[in-house]
Symmetry: C2
Subunit: 372 residues, 2 copies
Amino acid sequence: MSFKILKKSKKSKARIGILKTKHGVVKTPIFLPIATKAAIKNLTSEELKDLGAEIILSNTYHLFLRPGEKIIKEIGGLHQFMNWSGPILTDSGGFQVFSLAKIRKVKENGVEFISEIDGQKFFLTPKKAIQIQLDLGSDIIMSFDECVGYPTPKKETEMAVKRTTKWAKIGKDYFEKKIGKRKDRPLIFGIIQGGIYKDLRLKSLKEITALNFDGYAIGGLAVGEPVKEMYKILNYLVPLLPENKPRYLMGIGKPEQIIKAIKIGIDMFDCVIPTREARHGRLYKFKFKNLEILNQNIKFYEEINIKNAKYQKEFQPIDKNCDCYTCKNYSLAYLRHLFMSNEILGLRLATIHNLKFYLDLIKIIRDAIRVA
Amino acid sequence: MSFKILKKSKKSKARIGILKTKHGVVKTPIFLPIATKAAIKNLTSEELKDLGAEIILSNTYHLFLRPGEKIIKEIGGLHQFMNWSGPILTDSGGFQVFSLAKIRKVKENGVEFISEIDGQKFFLTPKKAIQIQLDLGSDIIMSFDECVGYPTPKKETEMAVKRTTKWAKIGKDYFEKKIGKRKDRPLIFGIIQGGIYKDLRLKSLKEITALNFDGYAIGGLAVGEPVKEMYKILNYLVPLLPENKPRYLMGIGKPEQIIKAIKIGIDMFDCVIPTREARHGRLYKFKFKNLEILNQNIKFYEEINIKNAKYQKEFQPIDKNCDCYTCKNYSLAYLRHLFMSNEILGLRLATIHNLKFYLDLIKIIRDAIRVA
């Protein structure tokens, strides 16, 4: 078994586990910083390691387009390419079916995209998505799915669920054939779709879990639907997921959303929020940093707008209790100056801090579950 | 004396020296990376230190505009502000008289600029330029000068020389009055102007050196004139500079230009080339790295265009003999990928390498002078 639950909370459905991959073991709950194009925006892999990141996410679609998975394979795989020795989860390209809706056509056997780079058409199939991820040397391969946005009519969502199951089966079969009895086996996760329709979500869950993946992701959330809708779905869906497999909520979320989802039983998260917010000069700061954080009723952090004039002469770090590189070396005043002067160093220093906030957050949550 | 010559070459006018500043001693010849707005583009001060930078350059004009020298003073000075503990030389704003010609008016007592930030007019005077640099806590203060471009008619150049002398005197007097017998005395350098006119250059040299500065800069070169013209000027000007004071050639230059200027007797350099070229994906690589470098007839480096398709699968670093962070951790293929994908991490990794090239170059030259 690649996943083992070490502790379950008595107060909620939260759990602590370990997930074994071919590049090492990670603890869950876990947050995955996003290196879409084989780079966390502004950061080196060494910086990411220093921050305490254990596993990162990269993207099949984008690396297929550039530099091409064959080049990465030839060089020795994605880990070599980007000098990251920890585990890598690769998204399958299914999210791009949603996010690049304007330049793609969904067909029965896959999705036709028009390349953003040279305008060429190419066809991504469930097999192709797995082959690319195998070539990249991914540790956790995601099944190719059709992610629909919000709102999407039921009929259309139903078709997407059907295709997602069909593609999951094709991809899983191809994966098993290719992997055979390889010792150095990557993990493969299935993705549950179904939009906001309970019967479709349940159908998708039933069909996908029947395929016996190493873990299960819930996709197609945080695509525009009201947040309440998301929690409603998680509340009925997560308890039906196999207990002994890791559960991955794709693309979520804000700090309080992560906490809420962990209490519903989610183990894995990725999200652009910390890095994207950082690039806009919005910084996270803990108001307190203890186990009370699991208590939903307390706002445990604040958001700082670094461009605010009040930081002009503030020679304190963002958070004097934070031991990230930024807080150890630079002041709010300096960060503000960098942002006001459009010095891109500011983006980096902010990104470092926000990622540290998220990685610290997940560690505190783990500690809190341990005693809850 | 703040400057001491340790060795003179027998084969050329090159010399090795040490320059004492209130933030430590630097060896000359020396190259100053440029942190115009209190940041080397893309790099932290710690990275700069790791690269072996000994002294950096920042800018009076830009820091006056943003964040304002009073804020930096209140915070504890520029060193504190940007977390750099080594010496800092600050340019006076005189170069902006040239580079921002469209938004300034030169008057008898100073220069009126229109702020790029808010369109407000402000007046930079020789006293003001010194006061700002004192507030910043600069280690080497530059006199406020009027830098003219190429071509500039003789009459106009003559006026600029006159004003440069007048301003140098006002600034120097103000500096001495402010500094008094302070132990922690910054150095102050005069700047020689005169365009391409020999008589004006000689006049400027005579008048500026009469003011007994701690060092002398040659300004107004590399502003569009033919390179030959620059060497001609250096050849007659440098031998007339006081032997026992450091000589600073402002804004120069390409690797071979630095070598040539050192052989004419220049001690200090700053230039945007390594950082700017890096941002355009042009990387420097030594063809050989030994003392033969002083021999002008050998092309000792090559320029790499990282976007070239031939680096697509090149899993070697830029230079396997380079021990910069970039070369130790990343390949040409990865760097190319970052540039092709517009990942700004690429700019940083390239900047690190190019600065290391320049800093290594200057060290090799020092070694070469030691035995020449």
